[in-house]
Symmetry: D2
Amino acid sequence: MEIKTYIHKVQYYETDQMGVVHHSNYIRWFEEARIYYLEESNLNYENLEAEGIMSPVTAVECRYKSPAKFGQSVKIDTKLQNFNGITFSITYEVTDLKTGEIRAEGSSSHCFLGKGGKLISLKKENKKYYEMFSLLVN
Amino acid sequence: MEIKTYIHKVQYYETDQMGVVHHSNYIRWFEEARIYYLEESNLNYENLEAEGIMSPVTAVECRYKSPAKFGQSVKIDTKLQNFNGITFSITYEVTDLKTGEIRAEGSSSHCFLGKGGKLISLKKENKKYYEMFSLLVN
Amino acid sequence: MEIKTYIHKVQYYETDQMGVVHHSNYIRWFEEARIYYLEESNLNYENLEAEGIMSPVTAVECRYKSPAKFGQSVKIDTKLQNFNGITFSITYEVTDLKTGEIRAEGSSSHCFLGKGGKLISLKKENKKYYEMFSLLVN
Amino acid sequence: MEIKTYIHKVQYYETDQMGVVHHSNYIRWFEEARIYYLEESNLNYENLEAEGIMSPVTAVECRYKSPAKFGQSVKIDTKLQNFNGITFSITYEVTDLKTGEIRAEGSSSHCFLGKGGKLISLKKENKKYYEMFSLLVN
């Protein structure tokens, strides 16, 4: 089970009037980290979409532990889990880059859609990607 | 247990290249619906913040059922639950305004912070708001 | 020259740590007001896109006069100008709904793209829309 | 007149249903590049705000030349200009990192606010920062 680490620098426009990062941005950071994870595994999103495969989010959850602030960077440890050819999930741990303090933990669930937006089994429709995904969870 | 219904019109800038609303925006819609719910219950966020009370999100989750698209509007049924003076949660059901098709379901959890960002019990610190919140869950 | 008025309620997630609306959101409000303007003129964006016509932004500018805050609503007066079949521009005046204080003024410029993303003249490619746009500037 | 170069990787959530980056995000990229520029010049935003100085955007404009897409990165060349102690402006040139194709050009104008949100002259209120800003435009 490979873990990959993505670093995000907090942007000013990500803060809200509470003086901390608005909670919705963590969901976007999860996406950044997920796309990075797949890229680093040669499973680039652009390539998937070019082959007519989309992998939308079917569920997402995030538990907020401490607020990230402008001027800080976060480290997101990402792990692909529960891949079965039809669905998979990814877990995320967001920590402060400097202090290691946990900012948030969460996960996202995904399926695969083929052309026309139909649910597909990667095992049947795209052996190459099926094997690449399988490698990541073993 | 009072339910309030909020309507949101899908914006162009909320779509992504999949041709549907980007999943992170539902978390923002939950916030819109929550703020509306509290306003309609005379628990305006601005008033709370003016009294030095903040109510940050401690967790959020969303399950996506069907994609909302530009040109559509959604109806969000919002319900306050599990208020105990220290924490509460809110559930959201997002449906298409026209067809009633379910778009997403989710929830958010919250605590109360006083001046200086300390966790507070509303029961101890602000009887007025404690009673107003209590009314909503009975 | 018809003016249409759109109302936007400031959202919490639109604020930043300065305690006011982040300046980038005004560009999104311009889009909301523009789409509303076109809808009210029977020039719905969805219909345009369904006919294979897109109308991307070629330039945008905004001058900020006073900050909008959470809990307020703004009124955006929108006016279509300089339509010549190939390009047009829209001007926006954002004022506080209650006090009338000017928040921002700005404009956006647009062209028309046909299928394949080529620049088109609406006069040649789509007489119906050409005439509808023309009506708005006279 | 120093130029600094900032690199931004296009995010999936920055795209819209036209299949390209939504135009409002360039305004956010300008902010990223501006903050980077100031940091690299030892004029960190956090430090400025810690001294009670804010530097809000008074105007912004952007001309779009070609669309940036998901999977690409852009290079933003940033230059501080017209600093007079009371206001300054910054210009931005956004090009594709790989091909050098121009994506957009723009600028932002800024003033300085002190505690209480009053307009201030940096020359009078903060000699240290006045000199640091001056160095950048000579």
